[in-house]
C-alpha cells in the first residue's frame, strides 16, 4: 500500500541553523501539507500546497518557513533560522481530495 515517507526521522540542530525536512507524498496525490505537533499538544496545520504553490498557510508559517516541490516526488519544508520553540514533530501529509494521509514524522530538536 502506498504511503507517505519522511526523512530524517530525527534531526538535532543548533538554534539559528537552517533545517530542511523532506517528504515523499503518495505518487498520485495532488495536495500536500505540513503539520507540526509540539510535545503533548495538538497537531497544528502549517501549510498546504497545490499546483506548485501555497494554497493556505497558518499564522505559525511565518517568513522563517518555506516549502518547495523541487522535483516530481519530493516536498520539503525549510526552516531558515531555527528557534528553540521550533522543536516538535513535523508531519507531512498528502491527499487526492479530502482524506489526508500522514507520514511518520520528523522529530526536530533545537538545542
Amino acid at each position: 500500500e502506498p504511503e507517505v515517507t519522511q526523512t530524517p526521522s530525527h534531526q538535532v540542530t543548533q538554534m539559528g541553523q537552517e533545517v530542511i525536512l523532506r517528504c515523499v507524498p503518495i505518487s498520485n496525490h495532488l495536495y500536500f501539507y505540513w503539520y507540526r505537533q509540539i510535545l503533548g499538544q495538538k497537531v497544528e496545520f502549517l501549510v498546504s500546497f497545490y499546483n506548485n504553490e501555497i494554497s493556505e498557510k497558518s499564522e505559525i508559517f511565518d517568513d522563517q518557513f518555506s516549502v518547495e516541490r523541487p522535483d516530481g516526488s519530493n516536498f520539503t519544508l525549510k526552516i531558515r533560522s531555527t528557534k528553540l520553540e521550533d522543536s516538535a514533530m513535523y508531519f507531512c501529509a498528502s491527499s487526492q481530495v479530502y482524506e489526508q494521509f500522514f507520514g511518520p514524522g520528523t522529530r526536530l530538536t533545537v538545542l
Binding site: 503539520y35 495538538k42 497537531v43 496545520f45 498546504s48 494554497s55 479530502y98 489526508q100 514524522g105
Partner: protein, 113 residues
Amino acid sequence: SQQGEEDPQALSIQEGENATMNCSYKTSINNLQWYRQNSGRGLVHLILIRSNEREKHSGRLRVTLDTSKKSSSLLITASRAADTASYFCATTGSGGSQGNLIFGKGTKLSVKP
C-alpha cells in the same frame, strides 16, 4: 474558528469491551475525519464522514455525525490491546478550504488485556 474537541480525554477499558469517543466542533464543516496515533508515531487515517452523512462503518469502527449538534462519535467494537492509542477528530471547513485540518486534543485510549 472551528475546533474539534474530544471527550473523554482518557479512556481505559478491558479487551473485548466497546470504546466510544466523542468530538465536538464549533463551525460548519465539509467533512470530519478520525485519526489514530500510537505513542510518538505518525497519524493513521481511520475514516472520513462527509457533512451530508450521518453514519459510516469500517470494520470494527462506527462513526456518527450530528451536524445539528456539531458532534461526532467514534465507536470501536470488541476492542483489542492493539487499539491502545490516541484518537483524534479533525475537521475541514465548508468555506472551500481544501486542507487545513483542525485537530482536537485527542482521547487517549488504553485497552487492557
